[in-house]
């Protein structure tokens, strides 16, 4: 069974600050990792994903994430946050074995103070 751990339930920063949202996973096979964002009252929206190649992947709206096999991590970063980035962020790990079951972390709620 795969597990996804997001160590911070809540993160609060000021507008213009940088932020890193942490994600660690446990799985020994071939996987891919992704981040989704959920604004209040809405469904999840895709941000970015890593499957292979360059471990740093760029997503929408200035987000990037870096995959580290040695650390079993896929942390999400943004250099300068905006108040509209306030949302819940979910890390997910999945595998391609006929069907692609996504295992989601419990989410990190990001609050950006204007």
């Amino acid at each position: 069974t795969q597990t996804v751990s997001q160590s911070d339930a809540h993160v609060t920063v000021f507008e213009g600050d940088s932020v890193e949202l942490r994600c660690n996973y446990s799985y020994g096979g071939s996987i891919y990792l992704s981040w989704y964002i959920q604004h209040h009252g809405h469904g999840l929206q895709f941000l970015l994903k890593y499957y292979s190649g360059n471990p740093v992947v760029q997503g929408v709206n200035g987000f990037e994430a870096e995959f580290s096999k040695s650390d079993s991590s896929f942390h999400l970063r943004k250099a300068s946050v905006h108040w509209s980035d306030s949302a819940v962020y979910f890390c997910a790990v999945s595998q391609n074995t006929g069907y692609q079951n996504f295992y989601f972390g419990k989410g990190t709620s990001l609050t950006v103070i204007p």
């Binding site: 891919y32 992704s34 989704y36 009252g41 809405h42 469904g43 999840l44 929206q45 895709f46 994903k49 499957y51 979910f90 999945s94 391609n96 069907y99 692609q100 079951n101 996504f102 989601f104 972390g105 419990k106 989410g107």
Partner: protein, 114 residues
């Protein structure tokens, strides 16, 4: 643009009643998923489908049935609703042709079972 539409947005049901949650996607995706989202648990997979006529059990299928009558539609059925099924339910579609699938979510259905 990819679109997943869920109905109803909100539903109040009585214990022992039958509830049907509907999902329609215009993405022409083969895979469709039903998740529930609860505080402290993140998203958990209930049922999924590879295509019209197929339904498979996810991680927490007990008390739920699913139906995929067509490529576009995927329903979640609670034959005998219980208060423990009070939750927010999300439907998603995914492109099985991609080696690293991206999920497209609906806006969710908030179900309250009294």
């Amino acid at each position: 643009e990819a679109a997943v539409t869920q109905s109803p947005r909100n539903k109040v049901a009585v214990t022992g009643g039958k509830v049907t949650l509907s999902c329609n996607q215009t993405n022409n995706h083969n895979n469709m998923y039903w998740y529930r989202q609860d505080t402290g648990h993140g998203l958990r997979l209930i049922h999924y489908s590879y295509g019209a006529g197929s339904t498979e059990k996810g991680d927490i299928p007990d008390g739920y049935k699913a139906s995929r009558p067509s490529q576009e539609n995927f329903s979640l059925i609670l034959e005998l609703a219980t208060p423990s099924q009070t939750s927010v339910y999300f439907c998603a579609s995914g492109d099985a042709l991609s080696s690293a699938e991206t999920l497209y979510f609906g806006s969710g259905t908030r179900l309250t079972v009294l």
